[in-house]
């Protein structure tokens, strides 16, 4: 029922507007955590698709949803004619044979009260694979395949190094001969010297068994080394997806650009043209209404009437909006919330200080100043929601209001989500970068 008839290079797994939210069904929940918020892309048979992004951007959740460790909230994971998010019971059990996962932490992914042989054999036992004797023989064969030796059958994970343990994890994932393997940061817990060995092993296995990988990582150099295509995730969204070399050399999306800037340059004299992102990603409980990256984007589109405003001044204005936004998301204790509801006071009474700090050394154009003063009045009256709305109305653009669509940005059908790909705006390029 899974991918056997798919040719090399054809679509094997197809994600369609996949959403995974956490904490919806909890009794005392606020907004759900939107870990994966509408992701669509295809994974081709035999390729390695990299999935990169900052910590907490939802890449691991996406991987876990793909192998049905998490239930999808909405959307589809289509393999052939089957939507695997709707599988249950025996169908799901049968399907599980075909997609496996290699976990991040080899210390935690192997039960150290079981022998290595029993660990690798367990998937075979679960799916009643042939006879017990054949299973044991298969385990020995797998040990050999991943570069361990047969004598290791009755050893315990304690007796192995991190790299060897990860090999055991890989052998377990391969036991049922899956088509599709999710590699969740498989080398990030290992020494650099061992990382290369494991990556080479993964490459060799892919050639040998025709595997399809989803390679989740935050180490961009590893991704560049091993992946055919790369998807860049931010706040539950795939911002850009494209062939590895094109993406690394000519990133089209401002976020990809910023992410790649974070790769350390070995040559200290090299002309550095970096984008350093300020602040932290917004809370996935309350993502921005428009572009997910709008709150930190250095290339954000301005309303036409402010085009002439000085870059430095504009950056301060955006920063004020960011500060107000952060404050609304900050954790507040029950008492504080109660006091706020009762209109007693909030703990945020330092709005003027923020204002002074931001705007003391710049001269604001009159049009800008009016709006800011009006917003500050709302803040002083303890109505920050109102202040935020007012600022958005005054200074917001399409980036704040509309979720960017996926635009094809290269001739290999790579895509990027950014309003600047639309004809009426300039393409995102370095000239618009707001430098610090």
């Amino acid at each position: 029922m899974f991918g056997d008839d798919v040719d090399e290079g054809d679509v094997l797994v197809s994600l369609c507007d996949l959403k995974t939210y956490y904490g919806e069904d909890s009794l005392l929940s606020d907004d759900p955590v939107k870990a994966v918020d509408g992701v669509s892309f295809d994974i081709h048979k035999g390729e390695t698709l990299g999935l990169v992004g900052e910590s907490g951007c939802g890449k691991t959740t996406l991987g876990r949803t793909l192998i049905q460790l998490e239930d999808a909230t909405a959307g589809e994971v289509r393999i052939g004619d089957t939507d695997v998010t709707t599988l249950t019971g025996d169908d799901l059990q049968r399907w599980r044979r075909n997609s496996q996962m290699v976990f991040q932490d080899p210390e935690s992914s192997l039960n150290d009260r079981m022998t290595v042989g029993a660990i690798i054999r367990e998937p075979l036992d679960v799916h009643d694979w042939k006879t017990p004797r054949e299973r044991r023989a298969r385990v020995r064969e797998l040990l050999d395949t991943v570069g361990l030796s047969e004598e290791h059958y009755y050893r315990y994970p304690h007796q192995f190094s991190g790299g060897q343990r990860q090999r055991v994890g890989i052998a377990r994932a391969l036991a049922l001969e899956p088509e599709f393997v999710v590699l969740d940061e498989p080398v990030s817990a290992l020494d650099v010297s061992v990382q290369a060995q494991i990556l080479n092993l993964l490459n060799r296995l892919q050639d040998e068994f025709g595997l399809t990988y989803l390679f989740i990582a935050h180490d961009l150099s590893v991704v560049r080394h091993i992946c055919d295509r790369v998807a860049v995730m931010y706040l539950g969204n795939v911002m850009e997806l494209g062939p590895t070399e094109r993406l690394f050399q000519q990133p089209q999306n401002p976020y990809t650009h910023a992410l790649l800037s974070a790769i350390p340059e070995p040559d200290p004299t090299a002309d550095s043209d970096r984008i350093t992102l300020t602040g932290s990603p917004p809370s996935p409980r309350d993502p921005p209404a428009g572009c997910p990256f709008a709150t930190r984007c250095p290339m954000k589109i301005r309303p036409p009437e402010y085009d002439s405003v000085d870059t430095e001044v504009w950056a301060r204005v955006e920063m004020l909006r960011e500060v107000l936004r952060e404050r609304s998301n900050a954790d507040r204790s029950l008492t504080e919330r109660a006091r706020e509801i009762l209109g007693l006071s909030s703990r945020f009474s330092s709005a003027d200080e923020v204002h002074d700090e931001l705007f003391a050394d710049v001269t604001l154009p009159a049009a800008v100043e009016d709006h800011i003063e009006e917003a500050m009045d709302h803040v002083r009256n303890d109505n920050e929601t109102r202040a935020r709305a007012q600022l958005r109305e005054a200074f917001g653009s399409v980036c704040d209001e509309e979720r960017p669509k996926s635009h094809v940005v290269d001739d290999e059908s790579g895509t990027s989500r950014c309003h600047r790909h639309r004809d009426e705006h300039d393409e995102p390029s370095r000239s618009q970068v707001v430098s610090e």
Partner: protein, 481 residues
């Protein structure tokens, strides 16, 4: 393919049969010594009559049954009648009716020593078997459990606990053999049994009812009305721990009481621990609503004052049919289990939650392992060590609890022996010559509860070497009377 190194346990056994044969040889000796008892168990527990009735009544079958009965009558090393200690002394002729004419004290001492030698020999045989298996037949050269046993190796405090606990268990198992007399003849129905003694006034061997002899052997303070530890009464009966105020033998009372305590304790622990571990695994695996429900249930039960509930329930239910089973022992065990499980559940919930967050649980889910198997294979081994620790500690608590209840006159009904009742009976004589009645059972309770705690400490240090010895916040919890 590499099937050549594949060896099964049987293949390893046939390749090197020596050590296993030696081990089985020791078993044969041990069984031979008690062969009669083994056959007796087989002949008496299996309903041969029913089976024989179903089969055609043929001569060979009848002969076989006869052989079985004959074998069951074979003398066994540890039977009372092989080394009898009940006899009487005739002046000039020495002891009559005892083992090889020895004094009752010596005969009794030999029997007790043999029982303990045999039992520790059996335990040693089990340990030796494990070592033989580990050295010669186990496929893995090392397992994590080796390290745990290794840590127990140098743990003197834990070993002390283990030895005392084993002695206690042997005492309970061999209670009828260990006593200088039997519960039936001396405690339960003394007026239905007789004994012979040499009456100095009459100058001849006379027969008297045990009950009447008891009345002349009471321990009620001083003035000739006391039979202390290691003393003979005037009917030449030997009392290792002296007698009770009723004249009954305290040692016989104690060994039979050990049985009752151990039965209640073990039943309580298996029920409570079973419930605790199942709930802990289920709540840790599913979390959410399941966890919340059990937390509320557990907290509600824990909010009840356990001792008061015990007293109340054992009083309220004392006239029902359930109080009749094992003289109220079953009822006590059930009440202990119902009020005591949250304590054990709390103790293993932490480790269970911790292990449920390991990635190997996700891995098991990802290839479709069934939840029950995941709990058993991937969670239980990490929880069971902690369960043993707390089970051992609360078993001591249960023994105190049972003794405390019977001290108050609740719980196990007389005449079934219970240690707390001995303490209670001796209370008026604590400051007199009959101090032994309260003191000996009291010290025994202290020693055994300490031993269970020591064993728990030992297991904890073996299972979880990071936890420093000294955090004894759980010691002697549970019953806490």
């Amino acid at each position: 393919m590499a099937t050549t190194v594949e060896t099964t346990f049987r293949e390893r056994l046939t390749r090197q049969p020596g050590p296993a044969t030696k081990w089985l040889g020791v078993l044969l000796v041990l069984v031979a010594l008690q062969f009669g008892a083994v056959m007796q168990t087989i002949m008496s527990t299996v309903p041969w009559g029913t089976i024989g009735g179903a089969l055609p009544a043929t001569a060979p079958w009848a002969a076989l049954a006869g052989v079985g009965d004959a074998l069951a009558d074979l003398p066994t090393l540890l039977a009372r009648d092989v080394i009898p200690n009940q006899g009487y002394q005739v002046p000039g002729e020495g002891w009559q009716g005892t083992f090889m004419g020895l004094s009752p004290a010596a005969a009794w001492g030999i029997r007790v020593s043999l029982v303990y030698l045999y039992s520790f020999g059996f335990v040693g045989w089990l340990g030796y078997g494990y070592l033989v298996f580990r050295r010669h037949y186990r496929a893995a050269d090392w397992t994590p459990y080796d390290d745990m046993l290794g840590r127990l190796d140098g743990h003197r405090w834990g070993q002390f606990g283990l030895v005392v606990v084993l002695m206690f268990i042997v005492m309970a198992l061999f209670a009828p053999t260990l006593g200088p007399t039997t519960v039936q003849s001396n405690i339960a129905e003394p007026f239905s049994h007789e004994l012979q003694y040499f009456d100095e006034n009459a100058g001849e061997v006379t027969t008297i009812l045990v009950g009447e002899a008891n009345l002349q052997s009471v321990s009620k303070g001083g003035g000739g009305r006391n039979v202390g530890p290691m003393q003979y009464d005037r009917y030449d009966r030997f009392h290792p721990f002296g007698t009770l105020p009723s004249g009954k033998d305290l040692f016989t009372f104690m060994v039979a009481g050990a049985r009752v305590s151990l039965f209640i304790g073990l039943l309580y622990i298996s029920l409570a621990a079973g419930l605790a571990v199942v709930l802990a695994l289920v709540t840790a695996y599913y979390k959410g609503l399941a966890d919340l429900t059990v937390v509320i249930a557990g907290d509600s039960v824990q909010a009840l004052p356990q001792l008061l509930v015990l007293i109340l329930l054992s009083f309220v239910l004392s006239d029902t049919w359930i109080a009749g089973i094992y003289n109220g022992g079953l009822l006590l065990a059930l009440i202990f289990a119902i009020t005591g499980w949250p304590y054990l559940w709390r103790a293993v919930r932490g480790p269970a939650l911790q292990v449920s967050n390991e990635e190997w649980i996700d891995a098991a889910k990802s290839f479709g392992q069934r939840p029950v198997t995941t709990m058993r294979k991937h969670m239980l081994p990490y929880v069971v060590g902690y369960l043993l620790i707390y089970a051992s500690l609360s078993l001591g608590g249960a023994i105190i609890g049972v003794a405390g209840l019977s001290f108050l006159g609740l719980g196990v009904n007389p005449p079934t022996p219970e240690w707390g009742r001995a303490v209670s009976a001796g209370q008026p004589y604590v400051a007199t010559a009959s101090w032994h009645i309260s003191l000996i059972p009291g010290i025994m309770v202290v020693i055994i509860v300490t031993a269970f705690n020591a064993l728990g400490d030992g297991i904890r240090d073996a299972v979880d070497p990071q936890s420093e010895a000294g955090s004894n916040e759980v010691a002697a919890g549970g019953g806490g009377a």
